[in-house]
Symmetry: C2
Subunit: 126 residues, 2 copies
DNA sequence: TGGGGTACTTACCACAAGGTGAGTGAGGAA
DNA sequence: TTCCTCACTCACCTTGTGGTAAGTACCCCA
């Protein structure tokens, strides 16, 4: 048992966040959405810094949650392909507005940083 | 320092999740969206099970992230009112589709549970 | 005089999430 | 012959997140 699903949720946000929270899950979703089908090692290269343990763990949880499909080919060397299920794709669609909000936040943060920097560099216009 | 913001994000989802992840933040957002203005103790009563420490901590972080506005009245007994900022409201709007997806997930889970239960109660229709 | 409400802060503690490094077993490249 | 790749698993350790309980300073009500 990887995670004891926290049972009855208070609202939909709860239920959705439970499924996407996890350091790499957003990126995995993104990667599988843009590439359609990806092998384990491809995903690992696509998420720089992820450990193999976390990648397998997250993929298993997402499989349990019905977001990703795992196809194992009985070959040597082994081949495992991951792709999004219908639910995974609909989750990604539902994450669209949130992603756009996040982009705005990044842009906002950057302009604030720039303003701060300018304020430090030019505190008093002589 | 409450949280070292993880710096440059890879995508918008990252940036947005960084802001809403936290055990009670979704509920706080929801509460402030439905009631518009809430005092500390009202929020605490609205989130059954939250500790005072976590509530203040989450509210401070959300204030730092520009999601909530904190208005302190110099009265005795003290009065502090929390409300959503423009960004907080837009975040809530962006969370709408995700919330609906979560509701679907809850419904889906429930029907699966019912099917399981039926399968156990009526394994063989005599 | 004692209790409750207001909005916190602080210290301490437990558990979960995540990172590290090793091992697996077969095949192909150097 | 040694290393690398594939897709993991396992044991161990560190960090982060959240919970508990107490303290604070002032006021109102019984």
């Amino acid at each position: 048992m990887a995670k004891p699903r926290s049972g009855p949720y208070i609202c939909g946000i709860d239920a959705a966040l439970d499924v996407v929270s996890g350091k790499w899950k957003g990126l995995i979703l993104w990667e599988l959405d843009t590439y359609d089908v990806r092998r384990f090692a491809e995903l690992r290269r696509g998420l720089p810094g992820v450990s193999e343990k976390m990648l397998t763990q997250h993929l298993r949880e997402m499989e349990q949650d019905g977001l990703v499909h795992r196809e194992v080919y009985a070959e040597v060397p082994p081949r495992v392909e991951y792709s999004l299920t219908e639910h995974g794709r609909s989750l990604n669609a539902a994450l669209g507005p949130l992603g756009r909000w996040g982009m705005d936040r990044i842009a906002r943060e950057r302009t604030e940083l720039v303003e701060h920097r300018d304020a430090e560099i030019l505190p008093r216009p002589s």
